[in-house]
Assembly symmetry: C2
Homo-oligomer: 387 residues x 2
């Protein structure tokens, strides 16, 4: 809620006058990945669908793709994508600076001391190089499993680093380098492990004095929607640390669910995994329930849905909000209806009181008020009730 | 291995002489619980069986039993039991100083600040009161689950403490008080959670500078023997921290296994859970495999079997090494055959060389050499190969 006093050009309150107020942007982070827009050929219709709902783009900085050959990073390609999003008003997030999966092959044989130096250099280079465009980073990803990750013939360099130095030392170096390279960036610890293991890691990291700006909670629900009760329990457990929560990777499939016996989602990649009418109806219902649960929790400040289109989706899963043929699924319309409908203040005529005041109720974000041809921006900020 | 020079009373080496060497004690901790000997009526036959295999007694300091009424602890009863064990040459361990389960009812309503004060007082009182008799303590038990433990209508005082202060602060206060009360005691962090959660907790605790003397790993195998591969993997993961490992709570049942769907072992307590001939044969085979695996690992310094007799065993499970009727099961004989047979040096005649030397190969521990009516103690100490 905001109380706005509408004044004329000379600063005199305009009493008893019709004015139009309108929301311009959400403060809440409604995110999606921007992977489809990294190449220079950016599909226009898909971009329209993206910007009609989302305001925060997660871009892929997977090290093995970003710098397949040591010393030749694809910085320019990523910078063009980041600037493209930023130029259209989106916030941009980089994912992830340190991760054992998709570590570059050339890291494989280096001694741990050299791995550490390479990791520090890479963090420094990306975070300072993208400062001003990328404003938040998954500083480090999936640390719980990092030192014991064993899905590969030989442990990768990052796993060796985390095993030898310890999880907390590895977290510290990631945050330390990223913080130094861009003190204004929002730095996240991100994990898929929602068990007590992640709690224990967080407590150790915070006790060690490492400043974490937000906790990233993944929620790839390929095996089924968590439901409100479990979701709230997870949020409450991680809200205990007094840090903002970002739901960094959220998916709900619009086809068959992945069977529950797969512990590692990567182990299930059927040749074909179609989107179905029943699946799409379920996905639409669940996305609404899930986003309502998340938005109602005072600690949640951002939700990133993991994928806009089924085309090229992770695991080939029908987890997108848009079908492979480019048409929006019901879940897209549902989410749009919330983000730009129920949770959005469209142009609305209200009348000022005797003191020139109007009271605006709306979600946190940027607004404007128009009166007699003049447009003035204002914001609703502050405590949770103002949402 | 030790090289012993046998001398006469004047200190002159006795060359080319028959001497008898004999082991007196294991350095390795072969433990069992001493719960059956806490009352003043100590079953003599059971005691014989206990001392014939074990050298380390775990005594119950469960707070709700120890001090059911605030200010009236059963210190004397426990002291008599501890002294009884110590007087018979056993080392004595106290279990546990801090634990959410079996927290006293009177803690229930106290504000967290008063819970903390009561916990500190209790640790100080027990550890200083038993110094010189109890030489090791589970300083804190099951911290991974402690703040989220929810198997009760209202959270107990210890859970509230751990939730409000955090796991590491709670670990710190336990170790801090216990260390101050008896700087010579061996203090353990103990848990049943063998997942990455316990790793993360340990890393946080060590990063926070808390000195832990040994890591306690429970292994109640009511749902089946882990097998060598899993056991070694667990040991290797926790050996990474460079601390001695104590297998603090080891059980193998000699009857039907508990069905795998029970996550909390406490949830399965059938009206009758008999020991069976097939179960006893399996238990004997598995105890041998398990102890061989544990003793072969360089980090393991103690193994405590959880229960001597089926009479009054935890969960009513046939997990003892002695049947309820007092007769030893095959597993008892197997374990005795290892601890006092294969891994033990009985009185053995050897001949000194020209310099009066004999070379003694044996497990770490106390030995003696006898020659011409004189008995001299010596020890095999040091690195793992000497075992």
């Amino acid at each position: 809620m905001a109380v706005v006093i509408v004044c004329d050009a000379a600063g005199r309150p305009l009493a008893d006058r019709d004015v139009v107020v309108e929301q311009r942007a959400h403060a809440f982070g409604f995110g999606n990945i921007g992977f489809d827009f990294v190449g220079d050929d950016r599909p226009a219709r898909l971009a329209e669908l993206w910007f009609d709902v989302f305001n925060t783009a997660t871009l892929p900085f997977y090290w093995s793709d970003f710098e397949p050959e040591r010393g030749s990073p694809h910085t320019d390609r990523l910078r063009r994508a980041a600037q493209w999003f930023a130029g259209r008003g989106a916030r941009v997030k980089g994912h992830p600076l340190v991760w054992h999966t998709l570590a570059p092959a050339w890291l494989g044989d280096l001694p741990v001391g050299e791995v550490e130096a390479a990791v520090r250099d890479r963090i420094k280079r990306e975070v300072s190089g993208f400062a001003g465009v990328v404003d938040s980073w998954d500083a480090i990803n999936e640390v719980v499993i990092m030192p014991v990750f064993a899905n590969e013939p030989r442990p990768n360099g990052i796993t060796r680093l985390a095993r030898e130095r310890g999880r907390i030392a590895t977290v510290r170096l990631a945050f330390e380098e990223a913080r130094a390279a861009d003190p204004s960036a929002t730095l996240l610890l991100n994990d898929f492990d929602m068990s007590t293991a992640y709690e224990c890691l967080i407590e150790g990291v915070l006790e060690a004095g490492i400043r974490v700006d937000a906790l990233g909670l993944q929620s790839h629900m390929h095996q089924g929607y968590w439901g409100e009760e479990r979701t709230r329990a997870v949020l409450d457990r991680f809200a205990r640390y007094g840090l903002p929560l970002h739901m960094t990777e959220t998916t709900l499939v619009s086809g068959d669910l992945m069977p529950p016996e797969f512990d590692d989602l990567n182990d299930f990649q059927p040749p074909s995994w179609p989107s179905t009418p029943e699946g799409e109806a379920r996905q639409a219902e669940e996305i609404e329930r899930h986003y309502r649960t998340l938005l109602a929790h005072p600690s949640v400040q951002a939700v990133t849905y993991w994928g806009l289109t089924d085309e090229g989706a992770w695991l080939g899963a029908p987890a997108g909000l848009v079908r492979a043929d480019g048409t929006p699924k019901p879940a897209y319309e549902t989410l749009r209806g919330l983000v730009k409908g129920e949770w959005w203040l469209p142009p609305t005529t209200v009348r000022t009181d005797q003191a020139g005041r109007v009271v605006v109720h709306g979600f946190l974000g940027d607004y404007e008020v128009r009166c007699e041809g003049r447009t003035t921006p204002f914001a609703i900020t502050g405590a949770a009730p103002a949402r």
